[in-house]
């Protein structure tokens, strides 16, 4: 695996120059593989994932359904359950600045318990599935706090719970409410507050706003960002909504068929996405403030993880594929401002896939014409926001 070593050796220098020197790694993932052991065979839902999440930053993870986003997110905190197994790689947690990192992938369930809630917590899409329906909200908070922070007394735990709820806009008298007595949006915010109960350094969020309305989503996102500013935790945020990730993320990982195919800053992915799949995703969301142009989305279907193409997994849908794509797997290579796994992008010519000519995609399903976004088109001026 030459690529991994390459990526590893350059990781410490990978930071682009404009970034603040205080950027410190919190979680370093190296060559992580997660398999689901099923009757049909081993489903490799995360394949050779390498990435670094820095303290206090937001890592966005995007991709279509079944691309492995939730699997990766759970694996970041070693929160996955059978039939999922971590079959290779390491997840290094630098839980204290300066001290040695622990490899979560090597820990037993018992050892992991020490890091849950206190260092890493998770927020899922369905709040009701995570909150205990027969327990008042306040007790759920105090239970978690008292279990993981034994030094905190009962009264103090309750005060902390009230404070956390207030921070997400829920009045403290709601501590006595049962989860079903809260609206969907409130449940979701309560769950976010709960995830922060033990002051974790990393909060894993799996589509936390997908089930709520856009106005509610904005309210929740604003609160998350405000809490993050105040408490300084890092977030790994999974969603299929790339537009949303562009707004909130420092770094975005694009997943396809269980692999990361591109990582970059929000600006890089907005202005000049390098992987043809990322380009397709950017083409999939109609703009709100920029001029409307005809979009094409990505014709075709995602790959079957049990029957991946030999070469690039995106090849059957890729409008820019070349002969090599069908036989050779493109490695994830370091390029300025990120990484990309495409034969057309090389460190010497990182934007090789941006100008490339598009052919007709192999699969015709739903193809309403595949138009290619040129770099110049992507770099058009951003219209002044007019939201009041």
């Amino acid at each position: 695996m030459t690529t991994m070593t390459e990526a590893e050796s350059t990781e410490s220098r990978s930071e682009t120059p404009h970034e603040a020197p205080t950027r410190r790694p919190l979680l370093e993932v190296r060559g992580l593989c997660v398999d689901y052991i099923t009757e049909r065979g081993n489903v490799r839902a995360c394949d050779d994932i390498t990435l670094t999440l820095h303290r206090g930053e937001i890592l966005g993870i995007a991709g279509e359904s079944a691309s492995g986003k939730s699997t990766l997110l759970a694996a970041l905190g070693r929160l996955q359950r059978p039939p999922a197994v971590t079959s290779a790689g390491s997840v290094l947690l630098h839980h204290e600045i300066g001290s040695a990192a622990v490899d979560l992938a090597q820990l037993s369930e018992n050892e992991l318990a020490a890091y849950r809630w206190v260092d890493i917590s998770i927020v899922m899409q369905s709040a009701m599935a995570c909150l205990n329906p027969v327990m008042r909200l306040g007790s759920q908070f105090t239970d978690v706090i008292r279990e993981h922070m034994p030094a905190v007394g009962k009264g103090e735990a309750r005060e902390r719970a009230a404070e956390l709820l207030q921070m997400v806009g829920i009045p403290s008298h709601r501590l006595d409410a049962y989860p079903h007595e809260l609206s969907g949006g409130m449940q979701q915010r309560a769950l976010i507050a709960l995830s922060l109960a033990c002051e974790p350094q990393l909060v894993l969020m799996d589509e936390p706003t997908t089930a709520v309305d856009v106005v509610m989503q904005r309210q929740i996102l604003t609160q998350i960002l405000r809490l993050q500013e105040r408490l300084g935790f890092a977030i790994a945020f999974v969603t299929h909504d790339l537009s949303l990730l562009l707004e909130i993320s420092d770094q975005i990982a694009i997943m396809y068929g269980g692999k990361i195919v591109e990582i970059g800053t929000a600006e890089q992915l907005y202005r000049a996405p390098r992987h043809p799949y990322t380009q397709g995703l950017r083409q999939a969301f109609p703009p709100l403030s920029e001029p409307v142009r005809r979009l094409s989305g990505i014709p075709g279907s995602p790959p079957d993880l049990l029957n991946l193409p030999r070469g690039c997994a995106f090849a059957p849908r890729c409008p820019k594929r070349i002969a090599r794509c069908d036989t050779e797997l493109p490695p994830l290579l370091e390029v300025p401002g990120g990484k990309v796994a495409c034969h057309l992008s090389t460190p010497e010519n990182p934007n090789g896939a941006i100008g490339a000519t598009a052919h007709t995609p192999q699969e015709q399903e739903g193809s309403d014409g595949y138009e290619v976004m040129a770099a110049e088109e992507l770099a058009h001026d951003v219209k002044e926001g007019d939201a009041a």
Binding site: E64, S65, G169, S183, G185, D213, V214, V215, M216, R218, Q219, T222, H240, D241, L242, S243, L244, L246, E247, I248, S249, D250, T265, A266, E267, L269, Y270, G280, L281, R282, Q283, A284, F285, P286, P287, L288, S289, E290, P291, V292, R293, R294, L295, S296, G297, I298, S301, P302, Q364, E365, G366, S367, D368, V382, K383, E384, G385, D386, A387, A388
Partner: protein, 376 residues
């Protein structure tokens, strides 16, 4: 009214003096809350018109009444007030009349998984619709027409789809089959209630482009219901913004979205994710939404129903219902438009032809699904 010249290429249909194909006027749908004694004012005074060759969007948060309007338009609910007009005439109910109506007005469901029979091949699903509506008979003619329908929805070559089951197709392909089925009887109107919300983002645009092509090539009138205002801008000519059972703003899509007048429309737009506001762009959004909760639609409002959430409410907003203030082809139901010289107040719409239906709408249990199957 702004005309689009961009790649969206939408002609703004000139419908000023054309009769809409389908229209609701001052629609009211009051439903009995399940188990309760309270009346849910699902729709509380909404007018909407669908024209041939035009896509009309209905946007708003969940619970605002969008699906209820679609259910009235597909005869699942009878209005408790206001009227439903087809070609300018009040719609008749009853088996025969409804069957004729459904050959012209078709509903596309949100969930292509639930709306197609998973045990039947595509050839059967489409062939059945053709036979029921007597569009084609005899195996040859039916097969030819099935292939034609598949071509219409870009499932080509059709031969490779006819023998497949919905279960071995992607969500986007299934939604195309559902659309093909609704097109079987050459309808004039398609009602699409969040047709892409269950689909992956990468294939949503394909379905929207298909709807766009169909209305262009077949002069279909399309109602596009969504909570995604950016997709409404992409697809629709006209947009109606709904809040709490009322249409609070309407007009040319580009105009309303570029220059929203109603505070709710503004909130909806500023809340929507916008890639142009990417982190580091200098245009990051800072919206403070203190209250995003839906209104209680079991009570009657004297004033504006958005008042509790409105950042610019006036004292009279809680006591007096705002009328529509109109400017050209757009209108907003907000007191703030009163001082806007380009808007003028309308006299309250003449409460046109009330249907005289009962106090409560027909319970959904009687006719839950409108599809070909229900017209058999």
């Amino acid at each position: 009214m702004t005309t689009r010249t961009d790649a969206g290429q939408k002609p703004i249909a000139d419908h000023v003096d054309r009769t809409p194909i389908l229209e609701v006027r001052d629609l009211e749908v009051h439903l009995r809350a399940p188990g309760g004694r309270r009346t849910v004012r699902a729709v509380d005074g909404a007018s909407l018109a669908l024209h041939a060759g035009e896509i009309t969007a209905l946007v708003g948060e969940s619970g605002s009444g969008k699906t209820t309007i679609a259910r009235v338009l597909s005869l699942v609910y009878k209005p408790t007030g206001g009227s439903l007009l087809y070609d300018g005439k009040p719609v008749k109910y009853g088996h025969r009349a409804e069957r004729a109506y459904y050959s012209n007005v078709q509903l596309i469901f949100q969930d292509p998984f639930a709306s197609l029979n998973a045990l039947k091949k595509v050839s059967y699903i489409l062939g059945r619709a053709l036979r029921i509506h007597r569009i084609a008979s005899g195996p040859r003619a039916v097969r030819a027409k099935v292939l034609e329908l598949l071509g219409l929805v870009n499932l080509t070559p059709g031969e490779s789809f006819v023998d497949r089951y919905p279960t071995d197709m992607s969500g986007g392909q299934r939604q195309r089959i559902a659309i093909a089925r609704s097109l079987a009887m050459n309808p004039r109107v398609l009602l699409a209630d969040e047709p892409t919300s269950m689909l992956d983002a990468s294939i949503r645009i394909g379905v929207l482009n298909l709807l766009d092509r169909l209305r262009r090539e077949h002069q279909l009138a399309v109602l596009y219901i969504t909570h995604d205002i950016a997709s409404a801008r992409y697809l629709a000519d006209r947009v109606n913004v709904m809040f709490g059972g009322k249409i609070v703003e309407y007009g040319d899509a580009e105009d309303v979205i570029a220059n929203p007048k109603h505070p709710y429309t503004r909130q909806l737009i500023s809340a929507a994710p916008d890639p142009a506001r990417y982190k580091g762009s200098g245009h990051e959004i800072i919206t403070d939404i203190s209250d995003a909760s839906p209104i209680d639609n079991t009570v009657e409002y004297m004033g504006c129903r958005f008042a509790a959430r409105c950042p610019v409410a006036l004292p009279k907003c809680t006591t007096q219902q705002p009328p529509y203030f109109v400017s050209g082809t757009r209108a907003t139901a907000c007191w703030r438009a009163e001082d806007d010289p380009s808007f003028s107040e309308t006299t309250p719409q003449s409460t046109a032809t009330h249907s005289g239906a009962g106090d409560e709408a027909t319970p959904p249990s009687q006719k839950e699904h409108v599809s070909h199957d229900s017209t058999e």
